[in-house]
């Protein structure tokens, strides 16, 4: 073998080896981060964390019960607004859409998907907080709903479109009207994929902080109703981590671990649903 060929062969092995290193590094980053977070969070989480309200600065103890409930309130609002709208819009796009209008809607949905979440926060502030003169869970829910709608619409459309035409035609041939076909045949056929899309969407908005900073604000207590400032896990994590108090750092780790585990569990569950079952019945 000539020298040149030997060099080419060595180069090949080295470069391909490097790509393997890249892949290992990428996965290692995930595990290092997760590991460190769980390590610190596990040491910090206790029963109080889930049941008590936060204490005054400088005092140790207390918990984030209000943030956990608050996050739940805000996410509930966002899903109540966002999921139905996105779902219906997705159905329109896949079943009824004409050429230009559907194209426009799709384009706008993708546009909205790419908007940084802080800009959506500005929008929700202008549209909800300013007229209502108060920070509220509603404002936070609206901001997150605006993010959830395009995600849900596009994923619903994607899975509905992949239902084979034969199913639709079969139902129509049996005399079902179009809307009945959609409701009883197409949607159930695609429900796995649709559900997955919804879970992933909700998991994504559950971790968002930026749009909540000036919409739902924060609350030292449990929020009574949807028109009051509401504490949320991501905002609390941010506030606690950037403060000097060691006890607050401890709580930030605990909250971070709880939030991350919830988001990851939702993601893993969604992917398992998708991969185990068939997304669309053939």
């Amino acid at each position: 073998m000539t020298l040149r060929n030997r060099w080419r062969k060595t180069l090949s092995t080295v470069m391909l080896g490097l790509t393997g290193v890249c892949a290992v590094v990428a996965v290692a980053i995930l595990f290092l981060m997760l590991g460190y977070l769980v390590y610190n969070g596990w040491r910090s989480v206790d029963w109080d964390f889930f049941t008590k309200l936060p204490k005054a600065p400088g005092e140790t103890g207390g918990g984030m019960a209000n943030a956990i409930v608050g996050s739940f309130q805000i996410i509930l609002l966002a899903t109540l607004i966002g999921l139905p709208v996105g779902f219906m819009a997705g159905i329109y796009l896949s079943e009824f859409g004409g050429k230009t209008f559907a194209f426009l809607v799709r384009y706008m949905a993708d546009l909205l998907n790419g908007v940084p979440s802080i800009v959506i926060g500005i929008f929700a502030y202008a549209v909800v907080v300013v007229p209502m003169h108060v920070n509220s869970a509603l404002a936070g829910g609206v901001a997150l709903a605006v993010m959830l709608i395009p995600i849900t619409a596009r994923s619903t459309e994607q899975f509905m479109s992949s239902v084979p035409q034969t199913l639709r035609e079969g139902a129509l041939a049996l005399g079902a009207s179009k809307w009945k076909t959609i409701a009883t045949v197409v949607v159930p056929a695609a429900y796995r994929g649709i559900a997955t899309g919804m879970i992933l969407g909700v998991a994504r908005i559950a971790g968002e902080t930026a749009p909540l900073l000036f919409t739902s604000g924060n609350n030292a207590y449990m929020s009574s109703g949807f028109t009051q400032p509401t504490a949320s896990l991501p905002v609390m994590i941010f506030l606690r981590a950037t403060a000097p108090y060691e006890d607050w750092h401890r709580q930030a780790w605990a909250a971070g671990m709880v939030l991350l585990l919830l988001v990851l569990l939702a993601n893993i569950a969604a992917r398992l649903i998708l991969s185990r079952g068939i997304a669309v019945q053939k």
Binding site: A23, M33, V105, L111, P116, V146, G207, P234, W253
Partner: protein, 325 residues
């Protein structure tokens, strides 16, 4: 979108006809879902409208000078976007410089070399990285990356390379470089996952042809496969860039919050998203608040353009992929 043309009669016209159409369940369904779909249009238009009207003051006062002025002084009422645009661009560039080689390399491994089981397991984990909330990246960066950069990495770079302007000045731990590094971690999963898919689409004939001509494995990959998939790879880079531009929380926690333009990567800076997050809830006075909204508008336009380019590239890849049997 099959309409059962054979079943329904041609629709009559006129006002009374509308009522007749409404009795048809399909029409109702169509109108209802149409209404929901229109809401997406409404929201997007509303968003653009809000951003435009709530940024009227600085646009009137500064005009295009807003984009080129580097003065951000709430006291004297002088607002310029340049430091934030600079910070946003610099941190995103640093992020790409780290994430692209790492990401494309990993994608090559996962698509070309790894056995299918490993490839899909690794991909599963890497896609989980994309699901981690920004604030969690921020907390980890604040407590682990910042001390690491301050005590080891930045001094390590400064010793031999301190004469370069980008590595000059004091070392804080907080700053452009640290923000760029955490952004790299956040854009990595996007680049890997999309590049991998683009690479998987490359027909085996390309590989085989190169190998048949005597190329080494690496040469066939680098010179035949990757160029074929380059549109998709570029698409993934643009997508990663779009994500990096809009990232707020992780950057806010490590960038040092200084509204100035600095040559050194070790210096503290600011990005558009970070300054809005920090100063929006307390901007006193209409001009100040509206200047922040104007910054939001700039960021919005920037991400639209980059996202559009990304999508064009990715569409071009799939179209090209399906065109070639």
């Amino acid at each position: 979108m099959a309409t059962s043309a054979a079943v329904s009669a041609p629709p009559p016209s006129g006002a009374g006809a509308l009522l007749q159409r409404l009795r048809n369940g399909d029409e109702v369904a169509r109108l209802i879902t149409l209404a929901f779909a229109s809401s997406i249009l409404l929201v997007t238009v509303g968003l653009i409208y809000q951003l435009w009207t709530t940024s009227a003051l600085p646009r009137q006062k500064f005009g295009f000078g807003f984009l080129t002025s580097s003065m951000w002084n709430p006291v004297s009422g002088q607002f310029g976007a340049l430091p934030f645009i600079y910070g946003t661009v610099i941190t995103s560039v640093i992020a790409l410089l780290i994430a692209v080689p790492l990401g494309v390399g990993a994608a090559i491994f996962l698509s070309e070399l790894a056995p299918p089981r490993i490839s899909s397991t690794f991909t599963f984990f890497i896609e989980l990285l994309a699901a981690i909330p920004s604030v969690i990246y921020g907390v980890l960066a604040l407590f682990t990356l910042v001390p690491l950069m301050r005590d080891y990495v930045e001094p390590f770079l400064k010793k031999p390379l301190g004469f370069l302007p980008i590595f000059s000045g004091p070392v804080f731990g907080f700053g452009y470089l640290t923000a760029g590094v955490i952004l790299a971690f956040m854009t990595l999963p996007f680049i890997i996952s999309i590049s991998r898919e683009a690479l998987l689409e490359v027909p085996t004939e390309q590989r085989e042809a190169a190998l048949a001509l005597g190329a080494t494995r690496w040469e066939s990959t680098w010179q035949a496969v990757v160029p074929y998939a380059r549109l998709g790879i570029f698409g993934s880079i643009f997508l990663g860039l779009a994500r990096a531009l809009g990232e707020t929380m992780a950057v806010t926690m490590v960038i040092g919050n200084d509204p100035g333009i600095h040559a050194s990567l070790f210096a503290p800076g600011y990005t558009i998203a970070a300054v809005i997050a920090n100063e929006f809830s307390e901007a006193t006075g209409d001009l100040y608040l509206q200047s922040l909204v104007a910054l939001g508008l700039v960021l919005f336009l920037l991400t639209i353009v980059i996202n559009a380019m990304a999508r064009l590239l990715i569409i071009a890849t799939t179209r090209r992929g399906s065109a070639n049997p």
